[in-house]
Symmetry: C2
C-alpha cells in the first residue's frame, strides 16, 4: 500500500485500515511504503503483467461468498492469467474500492488475497484503498518468464488438452441465482478456484504451443486461441471432462473455471497419468487443431454457438 | 485489453467497446491480445510499479469534469507515482468499472487516458472492462530505472524543494463543492494535472536524495518523507509558492497537486532558473531537513497540524 491510498474514512482510519491489511499479510507483503514498488526481473526473462477486477453484483453477490473467499477468488483469477502465459509470479498489487458497509470485512478480504498469493508463491508488493459504492477488487499481477506462452501458437495437427473437470462454476452460479444451494463440489469450484501455475510450467516444459485460461467458457476461449492462431479447433464433446451433475452444454459454456486450455504438438507424448499423479487433477485430450475452416471452433462437427460462457449479472 | 475483459453488455458489445478504445489509442496500445502483456525491462534497470484508483463521487463528481478530463486526470495521477520514483514509464494498464449511464463516454475516457499516456511517452499495454455501479478507473503503471528515488533518503542538512505553485486543486474543489465556478487556473490544476516526469529526471540527475509526489498535501507528504527518513522537516511558510487567490493554509493542505517534493543535498547547486526555463514552472526551496525532533514537520516552528490535505467526498 502506498501513501497514496485514498479512503474516505477521515482522520487516521485509512492508515489504520492499511496497517491492518499489512499485519494480516506479514512477510508476504514486501517493499511497501514508497510511491511505487520496486522489483527486479531476473536477467533474460521478460515481464508479464495483467490486471483483473472483481466487482460486487457483477462477478458475485455478497450472500454467496465469505469475505475471505471474495479476496482469494479475485487473486486466483488474476494469477490465472500468469498461468496462461506460463510465467512465475513476482508481485501482486491490490486496489480495493471499499463501501462503508464492508469496512469490517477488509481484513478477511486481505486474508483471502494473501492465501491465494501464498498458494502461488507471489509476494504482495503494493495497492490502493479507496471509498466506493460497491466492493471492487482490482488486482494487478506481475510475473516473469524467458518464454511466455501465447494464444497465437496453435498449429494444425496440435492436440487440445484441458486441465481439471468443467462445469462446476456455472452449476453453482445457476443454483445461486435460483436461490438454491449449490452442490458443495460445484460451490468450491466457483468460490475457491486455483491458478494452475505448476500445471502450466509442466505443460510448457513439454512443448505447449499455445494456452489460455478458461474464464469465458471452453468454447469461447478455444475461439480466442483459434482466431489468434489462424486455425480452427475441433472439440470432441464426448471427451470433455465433466464434473458430476453437469451436462455437456453447460460444461462447454461454463466460465470462470480458471482451468487451462492448451495446444500441444501432436508428436509430443503427454503423460496424462503422470500429470494426474502430480497435480491431483486430470489432463484430458479433447480435440485437435485443423487448418482454418469456416468456423473457428466446432464440437462434433457442428458449429459451437459460443454461448456466452460468462453470465454476468447486470 | 485481454480477452478476460468483463463487461455486462451481453453479446458482442463488450468486445465492441474494447475495440473502440483500442481504435482511439491506435499505435499507443501495444501487444494487447493475450492473457497478459509482455514487457522487456532494460538490462540493469529495476521495475517500478504502482496502482491508483479514481472513483466517481469519491475523487470527483460527474458535473465537474469532462469524460476526457476524468481519463486524463486518472492516468496522470498514476504516472505521477513513477515521477516520484524517477522512473521511465514502460506501460499502463487501465481497469474500467463502467456503469450503464457512462457507456457513451467510454471513448472519451479512453481518449483522455491516451492523452496523458502520450504526454508521458507511455504505451498502453493492457486492461480490463467490467460493469459497475459507479465509474472507476484503476490504473497500474510500470516504469524502470537503474536508481529509483525513495522516500527514505532525506538527510539532515538537505534542502527541500517543491515544483510548481500550490493550492489550485483545493481551491477548485472548494468552489465545486460550494456550487460556484472555480477560477479557470484553479480548475485546470484540478482537472488536468501533469506527471512531473522530466522534472523528476532533472532533479535525480542533480543528486536528489528523496522524493514524493504531492497527493495528500504538502505537509502530509513532507511527513511521509520525514517519517520514512527518520528526520524532521522545517518548512518556511513564506517561501511556499502559491497560486493566485490561494492562502498559505490552503496551499499547505492542498492534495492531488501531483507536484514533486524533493530533498536535495545542501552542497548541490540547484539552478532554479534553468529549471524554470526548461519546464515552464518554478522550482522553489521551501525548507530544510534537520535531525529528528519532536515533530516530523514544522512550519515556521509551529507544528504543522497535518490538516487532511485530501478532502475526500464521502
Amino acid at each position: 500500500m502506498s501513501g497514496e491510498a485514498h479512503l474516505a474514512m477521515g482522520g487516521g482510519e485509512e492508515f489504520d485500515a492499511i496497517r491492518r491489511m499489512l499485519s494480516t499479510w506479514g512477510a508476504k507483503a514486501r517493499g511497501i511504503g514508497d510511491d511505487a514498488a520496486v522489483l527486479e526481473v531476473p536477467r533474460g526473462e521478460k515481464l508479464v503483467v495483467s490486471t483483473d477486477a472483481a466487482v460486487e453484483d457483477v462477478h458475485f453477490k455478497r450472500p454467496w461468498l465469505s469475505a475471505m473467499e471474495i479476496g482469494a477468488r479475485a487473486a486466483s483469477a488474476a494469477l490465472s492469467d500468469l498461468a496462461a502465459m506460463a510465467a512465475t509470479p513476482r508481485g501482486l498489487l491490490l486496489a480495493v474500492g471499499l463501501p462503508a458497509d464492508w469496512h469490517g470485512d477488509l481484513e478477511d478480504i486481505a486474508r483471502g488475497v494473501g492465501m491465494s498469493a501464498d498458494y502461488s508463491g507471489c509476494p504482495i508488493i503494493g495497492g490502493n484503498l479507496s471509498a466506493s459504492h460497491v466492493l471492487s477488487l482490482t488486482i494487478t499481477v506481475l510475473g516473469s518468464t524467458s518464454q511466455p506462452l501465447h494464444r497465437n501458437g496453435a498449429r494444425p495437427g496440435d492436440v487440445i488438452f484441458v486441465t481439471g473437470q468443467l462445469g462446476g462454476p456455472r452449476a453453482a452460479l445457476a443454483a445461486f441465482t435460483n436461490g438454491t444451494r449449490p452442490a458443495p463440489a460445484h460451490r468450491m469450484r466457483f468460490a475457491s478456484p486455483k491458478a494452475r501455475l505448476r500445471e502450466s510450467y509442466w505443460l510448457a516444459a513439454r512443448g505447449a504451443r499455445a494456452a489460455i485460461d478458461i474464464s469465458d467458457g471452453l468454447v469461447a476461449d478455444a475461439e480466442h486461441i483459434a482466431l489468434a492462431s489462424g486455425v480452427s479447433i475441433e472439440i470432441d464433446d464426448r471427451a470433455v471432462p465433466l464434473m458430476d451433475g453437469v451436462g455437456i452444454a453447460d460444461a462447454l459454456a461454463s466460465g470462470e473455471e480458471y482451468e487451462l486450455l492448451v495446444a500441444m504438438p501432436q508428436a509430443s507424448v503427454v503423460d496424462v497419468r503422470g500429470f494426474a499423479g502430480e497435480f491431483g487433477i486430470p489432463l484430458t485430450a479433447i480435440g485437435v487443431v485443423t487448418t482454418v475452416g469456416d468456423r473457428p471452433v466446432t464440437t462434433n462437427g457442428t458449429r459451437a454457438t459460443a454461448p456466452r460462457g460468462h453470465d454476468h449479472l447486470a
